[in-house]
Symmetry: D2
Subunit: 148 residues, 4 copies
């Protein structure tokens, strides 16, 4: 499956569920202020509102916060492309931190580069006011539901 | 500077401060339950107590939690090797997620592979009961204090 | 320096020299059949003609060949953006191998995501007949010429 | 399968074949001067004799050469741990280039961090006279032979 065929597999109902339930769910994503905004076939736009509590003594956002956002969005972007009930487990992820980030809004874009039945290669970009601050690339393993 | 010369540069007073102040500091590390336990010349042992609030609906710990721990420990390990007042900024980090992790205790080991005045290459390993669950490798850029 | 300002710094004379001299130079790039084709401000298109000698017993191109191409193009793309006489040293590189590659032509695209006076974050994509087969992301450190 | 169980799975006959046939095989590994020296359960020691033809105009070994060595050894190390006839395909690889390398001998160590029936996470280290010059970490996907 290459990007030009993602639209055949894209399930907007899963995307809608991800947005409605995902944003209401407590846990890391909520702590990091992440809101899933809009899915497309192989794409995801999210946004994070980073509070003062996520800074280090340097005054910049903790790198682990950006890593957490990147992990979250690159994992989420494939859900509407998988059969219902499947889930994705990040196998590996690489991040380049490009500029320090202060408290405030971060825009997060994820995209799927390639996908098979077993795995997907994904990219992510975090931006502050249209400036790239972090770029990621990783692999998601696709896990089928256990047959009872 | 290679690992066999780290002991000449190692400042135990900075290590002690990291443990005392770092563990008391609110923010991401505290949210993730991270406790810095013991520094050595180019090494760090930490521990994280992962609560149920850090799981995803799959029942496993969110990958972003492991990424956050890895970012934190690989950044912290170099402080006792730097001149006082310098700080480290993670430039890039790569993680391999090896096994799913449940709520409970994670042991976290960081080590410095090589270090110059400008940067350090570091590794991290997260373990659950002696089993490796996540391996990381990255670069920390060393930032000198601004001269007033 | 962000991508929208690369054109101010872009030196087409360096690009021309890279193409003329680089392609004539013996060494790894020639062994791998790499030809630099066209530079732009922060972009590079190259092409590699991969012979049967670069296959493994599996019948696919050796992963090290794709790694070599990726290292070469992500290193070359920044030259026209640097002051004359500076050179780039790859500090780290990450590759995702997406599909097996057979002998034949590989198109190689490199682009600069961000660049300072000291380093650049770059991406590369290798394609066979418009299909992505390998994606890379890395850091190039910029080295100034020694003053005599 | 964790490192303490690799010895149960280790097949020295495959290791012997890798050394005898592998070193005689033309292709990238031979061009890079790589010689597989000794396998163990989850470990591999190799050596590369890097000639002047592998340098760039900077006088240092081309980064793609080190990437090729790293890809080769991290792929080879798992063969004696796999059932006969299986092969390994590198899925992703990350390299940190730590110091410039000149023509001469490079020692290359690969080790397996973890392995399942489907994949292995591996590390590699390149050394010049006991000094670490390049560190790698990646994933190998295990491919079963096609049933006829």
């Amino acid at each position: 499956m290459t990007p030009d065929t993602f639209s055949e597999r894209y399930n907007p109902a899963i995307a809608q569920t991800m947005i409605e339930l995902g944003n209401a769910m407590p846990g890391l994503a909520q702590y990091l202020g992440i809101e899933l905004v809009e899915f497309g076939p192989g794409t995801l736009l999210a946004r994070a509102q980073l509070g003062e509590n996520l800074l280090t003594p340097s005054g910049n956002v903790h790198g682990g916060v950006l890593a957490g956002i990147m992990d979250h969005i690159t994992g989420a972007v494939i859900y509407p492309l998988m059969p219902d009930g499947h889930w994705g487990a990040t196998t590996e992820l690489k991040l380049n931190y490009i500029a320090p980030v202060q408290a405030g809004t971060v825009d997060a874009h994820a995209s799927v580069l390639a996908m098979t039945k077993r795995s997907a290669v994904v990219r992510g970009e975090l931006q502050v006011q249209d400036r790239l601050v972090c770029a990621g690339q990783g692999t998601i393993t696709i896990v089928a539901p256990r047959t009872p």
